[in-house]
């Protein structure tokens, strides 16, 4: 799966660079990440909860920043392992200087998926990736806003739209239409002890995707 995109920010390239190199900021802006631990210079360990349609899992992963060329570019190498499948990604990040307090971030890379997530719903995953990307940019913008005084109004609006009013939380109503892999979720309860209670969606950022799956299967 190819991942590609770019976005402009109201912040200097140097500042943007420093945010992206700060594990705390990264943890804050990356969807689903619940923990980000520095294990080594430029290498972080992350735990994130992801729910993609009927597939839900807790990903344990390594994130490595390499080929750093401050403040212009770096490469993120990511390995995310979970019981619903694994993701290996290499993404080239480019930071462009666009004048005073203006910069642009672009990225281009490839993600390889394996396991259940690879064979169940992969054809719609690029939509999920786009959605995730938007979330990252919006969260980064919010972070910039919180750390700067001179934020343009239009960006405030964008941030409010995407972040302040999260889409409604989805609760699967019809268990019969949920594929078996849902039960693979390792957290919080092993399936041996799991009851038939529908799983609460704890992230919400995939609601667009979930809605499309529901439309696809007439689950509404």
């Amino acid at each position: 799966m190819n991942v590609k995109g770019n976005h402009d920010f109201n912040v200097s390239r140097e500042k943007l660079w420093s945010y992206l190199m700060d594990p705390e900021v990264l943890a804050k802006i990356t969807p689903g990440v619940t923990k980000l631990k520095t294990i080594d210079t430029d290498t972080y360990q992350s735990i994130s909860d992801i729910k993609i349609g009927p597939v839900k899992g807790s990903f344990k992963g390594k994130l490595n920043v390499q080929d750093t060329n401050e403040p212009a570019s770096f490469v993120i190498k990511m390995e995310q392992l979970s019981k619903i499948g694994n993701a290996h990604a290499t993404i080239q990040m480019e930071l462009a200087d666009k004048g005073a307090n203006q910069s642009a971030l672009s990225f281009d890379g490839k993600a390889k998926l394996s396991g259940v997530i690879a064979r169940t719903g992969q054809r719609v995953l690029s939509g999920v990736a786009n959605k995730l990307t938007k979330e990252v940019f919006a969260a980064l913008e919010q972070h910039i806003e919180e750390n700067q005084e001179d934020v343009a109004d239009k960006d405030k609006t964008l941030v409010e739209e995407t972040i302040s009013t999260p889409p409604p939380v989805e609760t699967p109503q019809d268990n019969t239409n949920v594929v078996e892999v849902q039960e693979i979720a390792i957290e919080p309860t092993p399936i041996a002890q799991q009851t038939q209670t529908p799983t609460q969606d704890n992230t919400s950022m995939f609601s667009a995707f979930i809605n499309s799956i529901k439309r696809l299967f007439g689950m509404n």
Binding site: S114, G115, V116, A118, R119, T120, I184, I186
Partner: protein, 787 residues
């Protein structure tokens, strides 16, 4: 005297299926039974650096966890049952297919560990605690790409990933010379895509070691319990066969995928002794997608030459066939002796050469799937001849009729000897096509097609196929590389009361044998169908059997039953003659009684059978009892044939294809139960149409199966299909006692090219002269072809 044969007797087995009382492997519950879950590789190609099972083993309810390292070196893996040699005479490359991998995984779904626990849920949970460190490598999934220089190797000792190369027919120079003389040559490159068999019942196996008797029982969803027993005992585990019982209870569909001996069967059998408990393993749907042997996956380049009159002068075909990562039981036979040998089709083509390269890839194994090789051959021939008609601006039906082999009945006229190693038994090909044209209303259709002006494109596609069924004469297949005989056995036990138990080595998993075979026996013995019971699927009850595949059950298994029935009647006549104080030669047998010819003196079958078991007044020197076993080894394959016609309508705006009509005229020889034959044809048509329009297995470049669920893999549904219009002609098989040819695969063999040809015809008539739209012909692909 046919009270039952030729009648649509309702299926005797349906009562238990319809009322939910069928008993499948997963329904079987044994005392103290443990459950297994197989942890499978998420990668297509990777080296295992380490496996840590300690945390998983500590989980409550876990009985044991084993990896490849726990399997004795002597158990190399599951064997391949068919050997094909390289062109230079070398034996094909046959790398071991281990029960669990030791070092390297070679496809997504390769078994890495077996977790045995008190419940399947616990086993699954525990498997998630197994920590495996993999080094991931590049993968290759395409059969042609795999043979190219620089492709990642699936097995280090198999250069160019080539399992074998193989050639059949006339020498290439002769074919080239004939091709050079052709007035027109049609050339076509295409893929016959990979499909998942999708039996409704996922595979399941229970291994049970009985310490009291030092004996194993394996319950498994198989099409051939005895073959599984032979392969597992003699070639995998080294357990004497008399110490193993294999039961294939009710089985919910196979389509070939349950012929093969799978690793899981050997695993549960082997470990049941070690853990001291019965072990059940049942695949979930996702595992079925990953590990049931897939079908097709050929990449082909073919050329057909015609003279100025449209007579075929030559055919040259090159095919790359995907074997997957390991050789499944009959995999090498499919692209060779079940494919190359069928390229004569129904035509008089004088020069044919077929050249096949079989390659290993980082994908699941590919083996026989409904039709097995014959759909690939039919697709090749029928696509290219339809395309040739379009290119030469000739009528596709006429072009076929011009090239058909003349009728021959195999009795008065000899069987037709092909350029590709077969001798057809009997055939009369024009009537099936003419009947189909009549049913279509061909002339009227062509007018309607020409007048079409509503933004839709109408198309008609033909497919006239032949298949080799009734598999197979043992000596012939032995010479072609089979490591088994392909006869069938039957035992007919007449009970003292005159009721009849028939033990057949065929196995029914949807074909309705319990009804069809009972019809044959009841009619031949002149007794009521209720008095006949068909028993199958248990190696302890049925002495031997080769199982059900290749449309062989009635032609081979049915013939074995007839042999045993005839032995019963022969002995019965001796007893009856004694009771009637007449000579056996003076007796007639009809309606369940022997009558002295020209008199009203008779004795009923039940009196004779009782006498056989209570032999007080009995012929001197005759053994008591009425129980006969027979083995039937056919003298030839059987060759059903037919003509299929599809009519499609394409929406020009969206590329969506609607199948409007489907006409199938098949000749499967004599028919015992028309309803069951129609049912087999209907099911086959749905699968063949599914391949043309809906189904397709997709591996991405890293070897991930990306459509491994019913959300992602499109199956044909009832509303995708028209009401099929089916009819038959009857050309009896001259070499088996029932004159039957087999009907299980016909629908799936003939239908796929008919649908694709119809789409191509619609596109050409609409002005889009494309040679091929890859299957499945989704709206996107058809729309793209029109741009």
């Amino acid at each position: 005297m046919t009270k039952y044969i030729g009648k649509s007797v309702k299926r005797l087995e349906d009562k238990r299926f319809i009322t939910g009382q069928g008993k499948y492997t997963d329904d079987i519950k044994l005392v103290n039974m443990a459950h297994a879950y197989i942890l499978r590789s998420p990668y297509a190609h990777a080296t295992i650096n380490s496996i840590d099972t300690s945390e998983a083993k500590a989980m409550e309810g876990v009985v044991a966890i084993y990896t490849g390292a726990d399997i004795p070196e002597a158990i190399a893996g599951v064997p391949c049952g068919w050997q094909v040699n390289f062109k230079n005479g070398d034996i094909m490359k046959e790398p071991p297919h281990p029960l669990l991998v030791r070092k390297k995984v070679r496809h997504v779904g390769d078994g890495v560990a077996i977790v045995i626990a008190d419940s399947k849920a616990i086993a699954k949970d525990a498997s998630e605690l197994i920590d495996i460190d993999y080094d991931i490598h590049d993968a290759v999934t395409d059969p042609k790409a795999a043979a190219q220089a620089g492709a990642p190797l699936v097995h280090a000792d198999v250069p160019s990933n080539t399992c074998f190369d193989w050639e059949l027919g006339n020498p290439k120079e002769e074919v080239s010379a004939a091709m050079a003389s052709a007035a027109h040559v049609t050339e076509l490159e295409f893929a016959n895509q990979r499909v998942v068999p999708n039996a409704i019942e996922p595979r399941s196996a229970i291994g049970h070691y009985d310490t009291a008797h030092d004996r194993y029982t394996l319950y498994t969803s198989t099409q051939n319990p005895h073959l599984t027993r032979l392969l597992m005992c003699a070639f995998v585990l080294g357990i004497p066969e008399h110490k193993v019982r294999v039961v294939g209870p009710d089985v919910g569909g196979g389509f070939g995928s349950k012929i093969f001996h799978y690793t899981e069967e050997a695993l549960v059998t082997f470990f049941s002794k070690i853990v001291g408990r019965p072990i059940k393993w049942t695949a979930d749907r996702s595992e079925a997608f990953l590990t049931d042997a897939h079908g097709r996956d050929h990449v082909t380049h073919a050329k057909m030459g015609f003279d100025a009159d449209g007579k075929i002068v030559a055919l040259q075909a090159y095919t790359y066939a995907n074997m997957g990562a390991y050789l499944s039981t009959f995999a090498p036979a499919v692209p060779t002796y079940l494919h190359g040998t069928l390229l004569q089709g129904l035509y008089t083509t004088p020069k044919i050469n077929v050249d096949v390269t079989a390659t290993f890839t980082h994908t699941n194994a590919v083996d026989a799937y409904r039709g097995a090789g014959r759909p690939e051959a039919t697709y090749l021939l029928e696509r290219i001849i339809d395309l040739a008609a379009l290119e030469m601006d000739m009528d596709p039906a006429e072009l076929r009729l011009k090239n058909f082999i003349e009728p021959f009945d195999g009795v008065e006229q000899e069987g037709y000897v092909t350029q590709v190693a077969l001798q057809y038994d009997s055939g009369n090909y024009a009537p099936v096509l003419n009947r189909a044209l009549e049913m279509v209303g061909y002339e009227a259709f062509r007018k309607e097609q020409a007048a079409q002006s509503n933004g839709k494109l109408l198309g008609i596609g033909f497919s006239t196929y032949i298949e080799a069924c009734g598999i197979a004469p043992s000596a012939v297949v032995g010479a072609l590389g089979a490591r088994a005989g392909l006869f069938e056995s039957a035992q007919v036990t007449v009970q003292p009361t005159g009721k009849v138990s028939v033990y057949t080595g065929s196995h029914s998993h949807g074909q309705g044998h319990e009804t069809t075979f009972a019809q044959v026996v009841a009619d031949r013995m002149g007794i009521a169908i209720e008095d006949v019971e068909i028993i199958h699927g248990d190696s302890d009850r049925v002495a031997f059997g080769m199982g059900t595949y290749g449309s062989r059950s009635l032609a081979v298994g049915g013939s074995a039953i007839v042999k045993s029935v005839d032995k019963v009647l022969e002995k019965g006549a001796k007893i009856a003659a004694h009771l009637l104080e007449a000579s056996p030669d003076d007796l007639d047998y009809a309606d369940g009684k022997w009558t002295v010819r020209g008199t009203d003196k008779s004795v009923a079958f039940g009196d004779v059978s009782l006498t056989a078991y209570v032999p007080h007044n009995y012929p001197e020197g005759l053994e008591p009892g009425m129980d006969f076993s027979s083995f039937y080894d056919p003298t030839n394959f059987t060759y059903p044939f037919g003509a299929h016609v599809a009519i499609v309508e394409i929406d020009k705006e969206t590329g969506a294809v609607k199948l409007k009509r489907f006409i199938a005229v098949d000749d499967v020889g004599n028919v015992i139960n028309p309803m069951i034959v129609d049912g087999q044809i209907h099911g086959g048509l749905a699968q063949g149409i599914g391949q043309a329009l809906h189904e397709g297995t997709v591996y991405d470049e890293s070897g991930q199966l990306i459509n491994g669920s019913y959300m992602d893999y499109c199956m044909p549904r009832a509303d995708d299909l028209p009401s099929f219009e089916v009819d038959r002609t009857v050309t009896p098989c001259p070499h088996n006692p029932l004159g039957v040819k087999g009907a299980g695969e016909a629908g799936c063999i003939g239908s796929t090219p008919a649908v694709v040809n119809a789409v191509i015809d619609a596109l050409w008539k609409g002005g889009f002269k494309v040679k091929d739209v890859p299957m499945p012909m989704t709206p996107e692909r058809v729309w793209t072809a029109m741009q």
